[in-house]
Each structure stands twice: as structure tokens, then as C-alpha cells.
């Protein structure tokens, strides 16, 4: 069993790698998923820009992407990773599949959060002469903010889980550490330490998400 300082030294770099992966994957997943979620809400039946064709196509794309097991999606997306970051191995390369796997999740989270907004509010905004853009950004998004914050918290936690899997096929981070030391070298203490770091991370993010959601709801 290695000494404690050795363990901390071993954990430091993978922890930062995980944070790096999670941060950028969340960012890109949101950039892709947020507009997608909004489009789903406004084009669905009875939405402010109802469009059956657009809705069905996007709804299908989201469902297909979400049906892929993440580990398969990563392999399928190797060519894309190579195209975007020049390699398929490493922390930066795994951001591509992570973001693409999480984007449809973000879209569903946004969709369900915005759908919860009382239709009466949309109706009132329409009655005042609001444009679709005003309804989206002045009514739907602000009113759904607490649910959006909680949904994003869920997204980040999911990405942490996925990032551990990405580590298993050469993505680095805590998952990679746990597999290499804990699984291949039978160093259970490293495995447990890696899991503990992930648990702490998840707890902190959930706590911060809950606190923020409370702050933005009136």
C-alpha cells in the first residue's frame, strides 16, 4: 500500500484531467444541446413556431444519439475526433464524443424544463404582442431557470460518469487511473481513492446546483 502523499501525487493530474474534460464537454454539449432543446419545444405540436417536420427530424436524431451506448458512440466518433482535434487518444480527443453524447441529453433536459412553463404565461406574452424570440428569451428561459439549473447539474454529473468510461479507452482522467492501477495492477487503494474523488466531485456539484436553483427561483 503506497503512502498517502504518493497517492495524492498520483491523483492530482488525473483529477485535473477529469475536470478539464468535464468542463469543456459540458460547455460544448450545452452549446449544441440548448438550441436543440429550444427548437424542440417551439416546433412541437401547439408550440409557438409549430413545425411538425422539423420537430420529427430533430426528435428522431436526439433519440438515435441517446440510444447509443457511450462506449460504442466513442468508437463510432473516432473519425470525427481525429478531424476536430487531430487524434483519437487523450483527454482533449475524448471531449468530442463526450460533448456529442451529452448534447441530446441537454436537449431533452432543456425541452422538459421549458415545457413545464405554464402555457398561460406564453399566452399572456402573445397577447401583449411578443415575438417568438421575446417569448423564448424573456418568458420561457427565465421562467424555467430553476429547472434548467437542476437539469444542467444532472448533465455535469452524467458527463463525469461518461468521462470515466472515456478514460478506459485512452481518455485519461480518474477513470483511466482507476482502470490502470486498480484493475490491471490490483492496487485497490488507488481505485478506491479515485472513486472517492469522483464521489466528492458529484456531491459538490449537486450541492452547488441545488443552492443555485434555490437562488434563482422566486
Amino acid at each position: 500500500m503506497g503512502d498517502l502523499t504518493g497517492l495524492v501525487g498520483l491523483l492530482a493530474a488525473p483529477t485535473l484531467e477529469t475536470l478539464y474534460m468535464v468542463f469543456f464537454s459540458t460547455l460544448f454539449a450545452t452549446v449544441l444541446g440548448f438550441p436543440l432543446g429550444i427548437i424542440l419545444v417551439v416546433t412541437e405540436k401547439g408550440g409557438i413556431l409549430e413545425n411538425e417536420y422539423v420537430y420529427r427530424v430533430l426528435d428522431g436524431v436526439v433519440n438515435v444519439l441517446r440510444s447509443f451506448p457511450f462506449i460504442i458512440l466513442m468508437i463510432v466518433l473516432f473519425p470525427l475526433s481525429r478531424l476536430v482535434v487531430g487524434t483519437t487518444i487523450g483527454t482533449t480527443a475524448s471531449i468530442v464524443p463526450l460533448a456529442i453524447a451529452a448534447a441530446p441529453f441537454v436537449a431533452r433536459v432543456v425541452e422538459s424544463a421549458l415545457k413545464e412553463v405554464d402555457h398561460g404565461l406564453v399566452e399572456a406574452a402573445v397577447s401583449m404582442g411578443s415575438s417568438p424570440k421575446e417569448i423564448i428569451f424573456k418568458v420561457l428561459v427565465p421562467e424555467a431557470l430553476p429547472s434548467l439549473v437542476l437539469g444542467q447539474t444532472l448533465t455535469v454529473i452524467n458527463i463525469i460518469g461518461y468521462s470515466a468510461m472515456a478514460g478506459a479507452i485512452g481518455g485519461g482522467g480518474l477513470g483511466d487511473l482507476a482502470v490502470r492501477y486498480g484493475f490491471h495492477r490490483f492496487q485497490t487503494d488507488v481505485l478506491i481513492a479515485a472513486v472517492i474523488v469522483i464521489i466528492v466531485m458529484v456531491q459538490m456539484i449537486q450541492g452547488a446546483g441545488n443552492a443555485l436553483a434555490r437562488r434563482v427561483s422566486h
Binding site: 398561460g120 399566452e123 397577447s127 401583449m128 404582442g129 411578443s130 415575438s131 424573456k138 427565465p142 427561483s217
Partner: protein
């Protein structure tokens, strides 16, 4: 002002069409408070929503000060909506914004210059008596206060028409009174046309000038409020009137004595103030026993109704009735045996 012609609307539910509006025509005059009343499902809210096209009519014409609303393109429609305020049963305030923020929303949509917004918001909150709640969130307000915010928001863009969709239906009677008083005050001061949907005859009685009664998607009667209160022709109007706390007579409790007919008189405007009954007694010799009666103060006039039992000889009774009829009082023999 508002001209509704042959408006038809059908809802598709489960494959079969439900005709909600079956060819409705109404004329609403500028500056009046026009009531639309009916039982639930009669189509009154559906009709109101066609005026600002929150609901699209299938056919028909809706003219608002000359423009046919049904023919407007999206951008024109949005501009028109800024001039047609609307208030709702469940207030529909943004929970993410303060009272001020909710009123400011309407002004932002109305493209007011940013620097003018705070002044206009303060003005509107003063109008509805909520200046001290400017920084509160809707969740901290009572129902009546929420509706006041709704009214401030609806009037912020200086509309010429205010649509009220069951605006007092979620409020207790006392709050209802104060909201109606506010609407009446606004109507008088600003000359705004108010179209009000309700299922409560009390609301119609308190502030409406004219009313249309809807029954299963059709207008079954319309006219001045006092006329409909005095002589409701449709079943709906009679049923809704029967829910009012006061009634001129209770059919089961009327005395039924042979030769002593029971008659109901309806007075309006000028006749409500005249000593018609005592004159009838003096000139014909008939005896008139008053069973029940009431006088209502409507916005435009006084309306009274009286239920009496007549006794005397047949000539005296007939004479008294014909004298009273000659004084422009509507009479209805309720019982005669």
C-alpha cells in the same frame, strides 16, 4: 369599434369536430363595457380570444376600429396586440420578475425607450394602487394584487381595448368588487372599451353597459343589461339570474287565493322613482299587497321589480293593471286562480 361578423370556430377533438362558435355576430361600441356571459362550454372565452387572435377563427370577420383582424400578417398582428390589453383568470404573471418587471415586460415588448420604462411602470402601479409592491415577486402577492398587476401590465401600452377573460372568477367576492370598481374607474377615466367574459351575472350587473348571452356557441340574446335583467328571454340568462342572491319572488311561497292574482311589475329608469302603486290604489280602489321587491342601481339607470297580490272586484283589478301598464311598467301575471 369592434365588429364581429359570422365568426365560426371548430375544435378538433378525437377525430370529430366540436363547433365552439356557430356564426357569432356582435357590435361593441367604443368606450362601453360589454359583457359576454354564458354557462361553461358556451364558447365565451373562445369568442373573446378570436378578437386578438389568441385563437384563430375558422371563418368570419373581426373588425377592430376598421382593420379586419383575421387578415393581418404576423408582424401587423403583433403590433395590433400591443393596442389590445388582456387580463386572465389566473393572472399569468411572470414568476421570475418582480411586480415592476412584469409591467416593464409589456413596455419592452412595446419597444418603449429604455429610459422611459421606469417612469411608465411607476405611473401604472400608481393607477392600480400597488406602488408599494413594486419590488415584490408575484408569489408574495394576494390574488387581488396579482390581478392589479395584470391590469397594470395590460394597460401599459395604452391600448384602446381591454379584454377580460374571467378576470374575477378566481377571486373572493370582496376582491371581485374592488377589481370591478377599478375596471369601471379605468373605463370612465380613459374611455377604454372593455370586453368582459364571465359566468357571473353579478359581474354583469355591477359594471356592464350591454351584454350578450351565449348558449352553445350562439348568441341567444343581447342588449342593455337592465333589459336582460328585467326580462331575460333565454334559458341561460334565466338560469344565471337565478344564481344571484336576490330574487324578486319565490314561486313556491306565493300566496294562492282565488280571485287574488299575483303579479310581478318591472320598473326601469324613470318609472322606478314614481309613486305608481299608490296612484293605482287611489284611482281604481283595488288593494295591492306587496309581497317582495327590490331596486337595483345599474351603471346607466335604476331598475326595480315588485311582486304584489291584487285584491278587489274584477273591474278594480283589471283597472289597476291597465293603469300600471299605461305607466310603462311591464307586468307579468304569475298566478291567477
Amino acid at each position: 369599434m369592434i365588429e364581429i361578423k359570422n365568426v365560426v370556430k371548430t375544435f378538433n377533438s378525437g377525430g370529430k369536430g366540436l363547433e365552439a362558435l356557430k356564426g357569432i355576430s356582435l357590435h361593441i361600441k367604443p368606450g362601453e363595457i360589454f359583457g359576454i356571459i354564458g354557462l361553461s362550454g358556451a364558447g365565451k372565452s373562445t369568442l373573446l380570444r378570436t378578437i386578438n387572435r389568441l385563437g384563430e377563427p375558422d371563418s368570419g370577420e373581426i373588425r377592430l376600429g376598421g382593420t379586419d383582424v383575421t387578415k393581418l400578417a404576423p408582424v401587423e398582428l403583433r403590433n395590433l396586440r400591443k393596442k389590445v390589453g388582456m387580463i386572465f383568470q389566473h393572472f399569468n404573471l411572470l414568476s421570475s420578475r418582480t411586480v415592476s418587471g412584469n409591467v416593464a415586460f409589456a413596455l419592452e415588448v412595446g419597444k418603449w425607450p429604455k429610459r422611459d420604462i421606469p417612469r411608465r411602470v411607476a405611473e401604472m402601479l400608481e393607477l392600480v394602487g400597488l406602488s408599494d409592491k413594486a419590488d415584490s415577486y408575484p408569489s408574495e402577492l394576494s390574488g387581488g394584487q396579482k390581478q392589479r398587476v395584470g391590469i397594470a401590465r395590460a394597460l401599459a401600452n395604452k391600448p384602446s381595448v381591454l379584454l377580460s377573460d374571467e378576470a374575477t372568477s378566481a377571486l373572493d367576492p370582496k376582491t371581485t368588487q374592488s377589481i370591478l370598481a377599478l375596471l369601471e374607474d379605468i373605463n370612465r377615466k380613459m374611455g377604454i372599451t372593455v370586453v368582459l367574459v364571465t359566468h357571473e351575472m353579478g359581474v354583469i350587473r355591477q359594471i356592464c353597459h350591454r351584454v350578450a348571452v351565449l348558449e352553445a356557441g350562439r348568441v341567444v340574446e343581447q342588449g342593455r343589461v337592465r333589459d336582460i335583467f328585467m326580462k331575460p328571454r333565454s334559458r341561460t340568462a334565466r338560469e344565471l339570474l337565478s344564481h344571484l342572491p336576490r330574487m324578486s319572488y319565490d314561486a313556491d311561497k306565493l300566496p294562492k287565493e282565488p280571485g287574488k292574482p299575483v303579479v310581478s311589475f318591472s320598473f326601469n329608469g324613470g318609472t322606478a322613482d314614481q309613486p305608481i302603486i299608490s296612484r293605482a290604489i287611489k284611482t281604481t280602489g283595488a288593494e295591492i299587497n306587496i309581497l317582495s321587491g327590490e331596486i337595483d342601481n345599474l351603471p346607466a339607470s335604476k331598475v326595480g321589480s315588485l311582486t304584489v297580490q291584487l285584491s278587489g272586484t274584477q273591474e278594480e283589478i283589471a283597472g289597476a293593471l291597465s293603469y300600471i301598464r299605461s305607466q310603462n311598467v311591464e307586468t307579468e301575471v304569475i298566478w291567477n286562480g
